[in-house]
Symmetry: C2
Subunit: 398 residues, 2 copies
């Protein structure tokens, strides 16, 4: 029997998905599981997007342009203009989710052995994408005690080698909810310019900023216009994760011409998803106001609940819909599995993502979990109550 | 300005897509272009698939299972059972088209530097996928004069090195339309078993076999059950290229567990596409009979027309909907571009794919083109007439 690849062996299991079989078993045993492990919002997809798909008139569902339907990309530029980002439609390639867009970016900019610096904890699947593309992740640590702020410039300088080709940030951040300030982005701009690096900026949570904070896009950093690659997605914005529509955006012509070759090899992004996403661009601003109010209320419950639990702590994030919390536990992988396998409170339990998977440095995140506040307020309260009860009796409590 | 990756520089342009700007220009100038360059059928997508999407009831378009919706995969196993292929639903991973499925297979089985043997001419994008995965293609030549039959076993033996990890075939073949016989598959079985290789078998044109020929799947080769990976897609079968639904199928548990990690990293395949594809599985057998009759008539026109042109030749393919034809031309890239840029016959012209892009050996395919017979009989006749007229006056005629 031939053996699988070394690359495949190194590929990590998804911290968001690996406990799914245990959750399924719990459900089979009659336990209600609150899913706070995954960024799958319960918000309804806008009706306007659903209707566009239902009213789709073509009789052949054909390949679209490899970079995405031209009129869709054209309309998209107006969305970005409204958000202060000035681009043209040929600076956009539509991917099957931000996932594919990130792979396009990594493959177009980095070669096997090249290094990308990522402040950790970071979106776990960046690890998988890096292995997929054969590139190396060099993490620099952002710490829960400083609210997961951008590490000081000295940390970046220490991490840079002759193979460093890019810095990757996620802003607002998944998993920490951290929102980068203008000053922090200026620091990044300086490093990127000095070392002539690519800056890959994943801004899929752009709309999710709280307390009146403003989002600053890396696309508007002056003097590094050719260095920046924006990663975006409509999955979270319109609660439409399943349509698989994301974007790779850059003003660097060489990068876009190269990414287009990768896009052409796989022919086209999903047609129905593009139809839905194009229509969703017409949702009124009030849609986001309502959604934000809802997430704001959810954040309050999670942050207050966690910080009221003995030995637990989480900073109040300014964006996205995640928190990373430190808990009085020995091992977050063991704890999250135990929640599904051995615990229930009045026939209910909660599914969390162990934070270990969001770090690339071994040993980090062992007493941290990521919590997605993607459920309604009532369910979140019950889920937090479950967690509180669980911490009281978890055998590995420290 | 940072430079793009070496990988990106090596990435080939798609021979199917690279002439699109010239076709667009021709259209702007009022020329009607017959698109025989791409495998985009004009057959209507089954109404049952369209209706399933229109009747989709969920209010949140959520991520599906990373391997695809479980009930969809379950139903799919019955399709395969009906086609004599015995698999279970956990032996299937749904990809965003066969394209993604091939990347999953390559990444799961081969490491950078490992080699895959592919009889050429082959589906051009295999080159791109190989570069994407960092692996090396070792072509062995199948020749137009022998109707593109499988090269003799000695050719495989010559191509095998210590880095050879897999053989990749496409059956029925794109671009040649060649349908492998049972005897040829037995030859492959012997090589695969002897050298313990993976056999990646792309069978997306399974239904398109002519003259009463039967398709033999690599999944039914005895003694190499753990070696075979089936690549499949609903794009051509149901004329639904834009839904982006393909499959990676294997009985090798290690391979599937590894591929699932790559699938989990990108979260899920497109939801609407899965809904459409699941419904399409219910189309009656008569759908295929009608479609086959249509393609049979189209093949006849193309094959007879080409062979009636002076200095032109193509074998009669037994499957898929492509032919590779040799033409009396100096350079197929130049010729195909000239057709769009400098030629028209009564304000019409034809777009073909230069065969050079379907070979990995430099210099091969220079007097060959791939023709997709995906248009209706009347249009095909006109397109063939255009080609005939073009060959009479092409300045590079030899």
């Amino acid at each position: 029997m031939p053996t699988i690849s070394e690359k495949g062996k190194r590929m990590p299991e998804s911290p968001i998905r690996k406990l799914v079989p245990f959750a399924e078993l719990a459900k089979k045993n009659g336990i209600k599981v609150y899913h706070l492990n995954i960024g799958q919002p319960d918000i309804e997809t806008p009706q306007i997007a659903m209707d566009a798909v239902k009213n789709y008139k073509e009789v052949v569902i054909a390949y679209s342009h490899s970079a995405g339907i031209p009129l869709f990309r054209e309309k998209l530029t107006r969305y970005y203009a409204d958000h202060g980002i000035d681009i043209t439609s040929d600076q956009v390639i539509v991917g099957a989710g931000a996932s594919e867009a990130i792979l396009f970016a990594m493959n177009s900019c980095l070669d096997p052995g090249d290094e990308v610096i990522i402040p950790e904890p970071f979106y776990a699947n960046y690890n998988g994408f890096a292995i997929n593309a054969g590139i190396e992740v060099r993490p620099i640590v952002s710490d829960i005690r400083s609210g997961f702020a951008l590490p000081p410039i000295a940390e970046f300088e220490k991490a840079i080698t002759s193979r460093t080709k890019a810095i990757l940030i996620c802003n607002p951040n998944n998993p920490t909810g951290y929102l980068y300030s203008e000053e922090e982005l200026e620091v990044l701009r300086g490093i990127v310019k000095k070392h002539d690096l690519f800056l890959i900026s994943d801004e899929v949570y752009r709309e999710f900023c709280y307390d009146g904070r403003k989002h600053h896009s890396a696309m508007n950093l002056e003097g590094i216009e050719e260095n920046v690659i924006l990663i975006d997605s409509v999955s979270k914005r319109y609660s439409a994760c399943g349509i698989r529509i994301g974007f790779m955006i850059s003003r660097n012509k060489q990068v876009m011409a190269t990414a287009l070759k990768f896009a052409q090899a796989r022919l086209s992004p999903p047609t129905f998803g593009q139809v839905a996403a194009e229509a969703a661009l017409d949702v009124p601003e009030t849609y986001f106001t309502n959604v934000l109010d809802e997430y704001h209320a959810r954040r309050k419950i999670v942050v207050e609940s966690i910080n009221a639990m003995e030995g637990a702590y989480c900073p109040e994030p300014k964006g996205a819909f995640y928190v990373v919390a430190s808990l009085p536990i020995d091992d977050s992988d063991r704890f999250c599995r135990w929640l599904l396998e051995a615990f229930h409170h009045q026939n209910e339990t909660v599914m969390l993502a162990p934070a270990t998977g969001f770090y690339s440095t071994k040993g980090r995140g062992q007493n941290e979990v990521r919590i997605s506040y993607v459920l309604n307020v009532e369910d979140l309260k019950k889920a937090m109550h479950c967690l509180d009860e669980a911490l009281k009796i978890y055998p590995g409590r420290i």
